[in-house]
């Protein structure tokens, strides 16, 4: 089966000529291995015995009552994946692919550090060298993940350009790839970048949607009325949405970073950006009138990105998915409510999806069960969220 290069007008391969050959090679490898029994069985064994799939579907009854979600609030527990987020689904698949392609070295970019940790983990598992690019700002706010990556044997390379966040780390990873393309596989962490990456990442993450659709039917006998996920680049969102795209009655909602609110800085590419090219694909983008890419802002490093995956742009244009946003403040309060009422400390990224459930509860009520992709756990965020919420370890 051939790999999607475009989603409507979005996507494409807007990259330096030097890496076109590698993108062709990756496309061919993925077309060859995506249905290959050996590849699928190796990945399948790792997903079940190493990652812990299928991840459970959990009914969050206390939040459901507090927020008035009458038809049930369900969490797809990607936070229980090994390494603490859905990112490992993609990292493992791509590492297995890299090994089959004969690459000796893995590079990745990371914002919150979850993709960096997942990639460092997968690289350690198969014995490949790994370098992770991370903005200096993000290294400070996601310090624990920096330490984890280094413990796993990865080299974490600080990026000082721009605002020292995910956009800058991604640019630097692409430059490394342009330079070392013969030996190196670049594992992009979200459903962004030049084709075939958005399709590969979405495909590897679609297990979230496939599992949760079957689990919802098992547990409730019906499909969810609404599926909600946070969107930075959009990999957990596209992963869960892919399970429901053909179910016309299931509403799909992506929650972007509202940051400081509409008047301030934010990361709401779909709501407030316009199409342009960043990191190799044509998609909605925060930019100025000259096409200079704007600096995004979010309390969560993983949503602090001015672009979004091309498939989301297409789903936005055709109206299949509604894209909304939640502010830093709303996400932080949802973070605390989920921690205190469910005993689940969610990632700050995921907290944006939860904030939307709470703040849109009136319109969700009576619309069928609500399914949230609980994309990651918040251990990595305790320093930052604690500081913001006034919680510390003082005696």
């Amino acid at each position: 089966m051939s790999v999607n290069m475009r989603f409507g007008p979005y996507g494409g391969r807007y990259v330096p000529e030097t890496v076109i050959g590698a993108l062709d090679e990756l496309t061919e490898a993925y077309e060859r291995y995506r249905d290959d029994p050996d590849f699928l069985s190796e990945l399948g064994v790792l997903l079940s015995h190493y990652v812990g799939r299928p991840t459970p579907l959990y009914r969050a009854q206390r939040l459901e009552r507090a927020w008035g979600i009458d038809d049930g609030l369900w969490f797809k527990r990607e936070d229980l994946c090994h390494t603490g987020a859905h990112k490992i689904n993609n990292a493992l698949g791509q590492v297995l692919l890299a090994r089959r392609m004969g690459k000796q070295r893995i590079i990745a970019e990371t914002g919150a550090g979850q993709h960096g940790v997942a990639t460092a983990t997968a690289a350690a598992l198969v014995g490949l060298g790994c370098r992770v690019y991370m903005g200096r700002t993000d290294m400070q706010r996601q310090r624990l993940n920096v330490i984890r990556m280094r413990m796993l044997g990865a080299e974490v390379h600080p990026v000082d350009s721009g605002s020292g966040t995910l956009k800058d780390a991604t640019s630097e990873a692409i430059r490394d790839w342009v330079t070392n393309v013969d030996t190196t596989h670049y594992i992009i962490g979200s459903a962004v970048g030049p084709a075939p990456y958005p399709e590969i990442v979405a495909d590897l993450q679609s297990i979230i949607g496939i599992e949760s659709r079957a689990q919802m039917l098992d547990e409730t006998g019906r499909l969810p009325g609404t599926v909600i996920a946070c969107v930075g680049g959009g990999s957990n969102a596209i992963g869960i949405f892919r399970g429901f795209l053909d179910d016309a009655d299931v509403a799909l909602v992506g929650v972007e970073a509202g940051g400081e609110g509409p008047a301030g800085r934010h990361g709401a590419s779909l709501a407030l950006g316009r199409p342009g090219v960043l990191h190799g694909s044509y998609s909605y983008l925060l930019q100025d009138p000259d096409g200079q890419v704007a600096e995004a802002h979010s309390v969560s490093a993983g949503l602090d990105y001015p672009g979004v995956g091309p498939e989301h742009s297409h789903l936005h244009d055709i109206g299949r998915v509604s894209y909304v946003n939640a502010t830093d403040e709303a996400a932080l309060s949802a973070f605390l409510e989920c921690s205190r009422m469910e005993g689940l400390i969610p990632a700050l990224e995921t907290s944006h999806a939860l904030a939307h459930v709470r703040d849109a509860a009136a319109s969700l009520r009576g619309g069928g069960p609500v399914l949230v992709c609980l994309s990651g756990r918040g251990d990595k965020d305790v320093d930052q969220a604690g500081a913001a919420l006034g919680i510390d370890a003082s005696a």
């Binding site: 494409g12 391969r13 807007y14 000529e17 076109i20 000259d290 096409g291």
Partner: protein, 267 residues
């Protein structure tokens, strides 16, 4: 009907008795006036001027050009300022602008290229627009009379070289190293074979850049190719100069040195 950009570029290659010297100036670095002055100084020595429009996320550029572009943006440089510099150079050697695709489409490719043409720009290099994504822009460029300059790289295979050659206009920019700008090229058998291969598949002149730093390297490239681009090295010399006057002098000395080295023996 004015001569098209592609025709002007062709004429420069045809009439030259030496490999062409193509120095790069980042528009707006260290400031707009200085970059205009540097371009005017280089115009005295160059056969073609490559004029960079700064972009926030230059994927094909190494640290030197990245930093220069960021400084230009921090100083408030806008694409129109750089196109105005091109306009000021219209009586000199042809100007080829270099920028990233998002700059071109932000105001619409046709509008951007139309303005570039009005300013006398002969060609445009868009390093993140590979040949298979370029049809629409090529058409708009053709209508505006601006040559879309394609790039080829060491990782470009023969079939793709031929594809690039088939639609090439003006010249093809051959990237000497697998990497970003500002590295260091070495003249070895691999590079010789690359240039050979490019010339076999590409019917228009081939200009080599990325990592060329010295007049000697320019001469070595010139023995194989139709021209040589020098970019990061010029920016480095501007950055190293203690003041504006010294920067002007450094640009002039370097430009004169490379131009002299590329000239044929007249004795």
């Amino acid at each position: 009907m004015p001569e098209s950009g592609a025709a002007r570029l062709q004429r420069v290659f045809r009439e030259a008795d030496h490999p062409l010297f193509v120095p790069y100036v980042m528009g707006g670095y260290p400031d707009i006036d200085a970059s205009r002055r540097h371009a005017q100084i280089l115009a005295e020595h160059a056969d073609i001027i490559e004029l960079g429009i700064p972009f926030s996320d230059p994927l094909a550029d190494g640290p030197t050009i990245q930093a220069a572009g960021q400084a230009a943006l921090d100083g408030g440089t806008r694409p129109m300022d750089v196109l105005d510099i091109a306009g000021d150079l219209r009586d000199g050697p042809p100007v080829v602008v270099m920028t990233y695709f998002n700059t071109v489409i932000a105001q619409g490719a046709a509008a951007f290229l139309g303005t570039a043409a009005e300013k006398g720009v002969a060609g445009i290099i868009i390093p993140d627009l590979p040949v298979d994504e370029a049809d629409e822009v090529r058409e708009a460029a053709g209508r505006a009379g601006v040559a879309l300059i394609a790039l080829a790289a060491p990782t470009t295979d023969d079939a793709r070289m031929a594809e690039i050659g088939a639609s090439a206009e003006g010249f093809v920019y051959l990237v000497a190293v697998t990497g970003v700008t500002g590295g260091e090229m070495t003249m070895d058998d691999r590079l010789r074979a690359l240039v050979d291969r490019a010339r076999r598949h590409i019917p228009v002149p081939v200009v080599v850049g990325f990592g060329v730093r010295t007049p000697d390297q320019a001469v070595q490239i010139g023995e194989l190719a139709d021209g040589v681009v020098i970019a990061s090295e010029i920016i480095r010399r501007i950055g190293d100069a203690p003041d504006a006057e010294a920067a002007d002098a450094a640009v002039n000395d370097f430009g004169a040195g490379v131009a002299e080295a590329l000239k044929p023996y007249s004795g």
